[in-house]
Symmetry: C2
Subunit: 109 residues, 2 copies
Amino acid sequence: MDEQHEARDVYAAVADPTRRKLLRLLAEADELPLHELTVHFEMGRTAVSKHLAILKAADLVRHRKAGRETRYRLNAEPLREIEDGVTFHTAFWNQGSAKLSQLLKEEEE
Amino acid sequence: MDEQHEARDVYAAVADPTRRKLLRLLAEADELPLHELTVHFEMGRTAVSKHLAILKAADLVRHRKAGRETRYRLNAEPLREIEDGVTFHTAFWNQGSAKLSQLLKEEEE
DNA sequence: ATAATAAGACACCTAGTGGTGTCATGTCAA
DNA sequence: TTGACATGACACCACTAGGTGTCTTATTAT
């Protein structure tokens, strides 16, 4: 569950509902310390901290120390990888297979 | 890795790179049997079959029997859940926090 | 009829994931 | 300055996930 040093798969990072909720909380509040995040979950502080470490490894979250607390902030940019990958499929789904070869060609360029 | 009966988290289903590649292959080929899918991976047929079972449980893939082979087909519709969830964040990221409260209000309606 | 092919169903193994609790350290308030 | 607070850093544990191999059954080709 750790892996703080090396880069992490963004897909895997958002695979966990707890981590998605964390992203949601951070999106709404802009910057939050660990203990304030923790109260929204039914798990211990350590567990939440580990989830944040995973989000950090995927660069979905940045942190800075502020006195005795560590404030976390959202960085949504890596989500674009997912957005791109997924809209590829949903576009295909919306427009029908006739358009797929076109999409594939555009991708090669 | 199994869980074929109950519904599966779509996010978790696409968290694995093997499964994303499966979706990609199915998007390009429209319908493929297990053994043809298997040749694209460096793992056994059983493993690929299990991955397909997970995609099935998330309703990302449909299957039908055709003679002695089982043909798999993409169903990209569940991906819209991810698309929606992710664009919520990326939109926030693109437009700046000024627009976030607006996005949140729209969501409540 | 027989042999080869495709796949389902298991049993099994290993590493990773998501939790826990505890201890040590730095910071703030009284 | 003393105690409470916030966090980091571990050690630890159960369960799941991603693989493997084997056996059986249904289907097709010769």
